[in-house]
Amino acid sequence: MTLNMGPQHPSTHGVLRVVLELDGETVVKAKPIIGYLHTGMEKQAEYKTYTQSIPQTDRMDYLAPMSNNLALCLAAEKLLDIEAPARVQAIRVLLTELTRISAHCVWLGTHALDIGAMTVFFYCFREREKVLSIYDMVCGARMTASYFRVGGLASDIPLGLLDKCETFVDEMPAHTDEYEALLTKNPIWLARTREVAPLSRRDALALGATGPTLRGSGVKWDLRKDLPYCGYDTYDFEVPVGQNGDAYDRYQVRVQEIRQATRIAKQAIERIRAMGEQGEYRLRDYKYVLPAKEEVKTSMEALIHHFKIVAHGFFPPVGEAYAAIEAPKGELGFYFVSDGTPRPWRMKVRSPSFVNLQTLPTMVEGRLVADVITAIGSLDIVLGEIDR
């Protein structure tokens, strides 16, 4: 029997369609069909300046907008061969780690909801709401942040933000304990996730999986540790790794990542405090970065730079660059080809969900149809990012 699942199906986390060939309750063949959310972002980027593409990225992985902003900015910075100041790096680390917590909260809530544990959803969204209100405080938007800029940030962080973040980070471990109390030893949860949707280490590597999907299969690979950016090598944290590559291991990896993310965020808050609650939030290289508003009012040079960057954008050298970050879902990278004009000749997005979804047939073929739901949930996909 051929069964069509999706694209309008609540457990496909968006508009994923899977065509399942069944023999009784066993899946013989599974074919994911994507593209229902394709908006041509890579094409549109060729008609926009680098900065104008930042709001586009919010709409890719809409559960982790700050991570997407960061990946684009790092790729553009690599192309321009500039580096953001240390304080900016720390703020970026703080906000992307909070993003990781919120993205994992949404994943845990919806994944548990798919399998039938409803309570977790409410608990997780309670914490996610706090991260969204931090976003709101930082940039005025709850989901479409567009807060990072090439060479810095859109504006300085508001006073009182660090206190708010600290309160959140301090209470997060207790909340994580709550989630774990509901699930980790829950017999129903164990029955639905243990040895379900397994992915061997070999398959995970061959299929190019990254992020918690790869680490759940026992490969210790985290770009923050192994090819560090934003000064992650100076933070103290651990990379959780699974053993069996089943849905339960991916659950464990992500829950432990929430704990590690709170650790990193805590260290980032201390560093920002040490460098000042208000301070440098942009690189002072006016060829590429907007000068501060105060300077524009007093300096002719700054006014000219301001005008030129707003009117044309910055002019990168002819060349190309690829930069990747460890987003909540895996390796998120941007590849820019520049022809020397303010608009990229080509922007390519390497989105983790697109690649991770390819492992779905390997996980479910030969197994029960009910496990397809678990497999999709445990992959943590976002269709906005897959289809772009």
Binding site: G40, E42, K43, G208, G319, G333, Y335, T341, W345, R388
Partner: protein
Amino acid sequence: MDTMTVAAGATLTPERAEQRLREGFPGAPLRRQEGAAVRDHTLIVPADHLVEICTFLRDDPEMDFAILSWVGGVDYLPRQPRFEVVYHLLSIAHHCRLVLKVELPEENPQVPTVSGVWPTANWHERETYDFYGIQFTGHPDLTRILLPEAWVGWPLRKDSPLGYQEVAFTHNTPERTVPDPDLKKLAPKKVKYRAH
């Protein structure tokens, strides 16, 4: 626990990878991409040697490029050869990235698939085919992936301008027609002077 750990000092540089490739494939014309702002080590390889080079890079213990990070296309119209297919390789054992490129002509661009080397290439190559119309010979399922199956044209080619696609649903605007794309008018404006 059977985790992959990295021995200290076992670092591979892209320069070393290039040297090994030159030794291993003396017949293949390899070229390093020039340019100060080419930020990653990029090798341009011939299409007919691609699969053996990739197999070598994956299997050789000193190289060990276990992951193909992504594959993508670029259209350099009006340059000849017009297309490029870019392969980003990642060696997680040696913390090293390497970029391979294949240049393809405007007429009948085709390149052998590497989905036999890294199965992950399957979707990446479908996406490149979908966007640029580049044929991957030997690919198990070379069909459109992101665009609808009935789509006509290759949207990311530079002669396919933004905003002039056929509209899928025209039942409420029957008079709507698709104008001829005026390439000169639609291409992004080039700014004559530079800021520095």
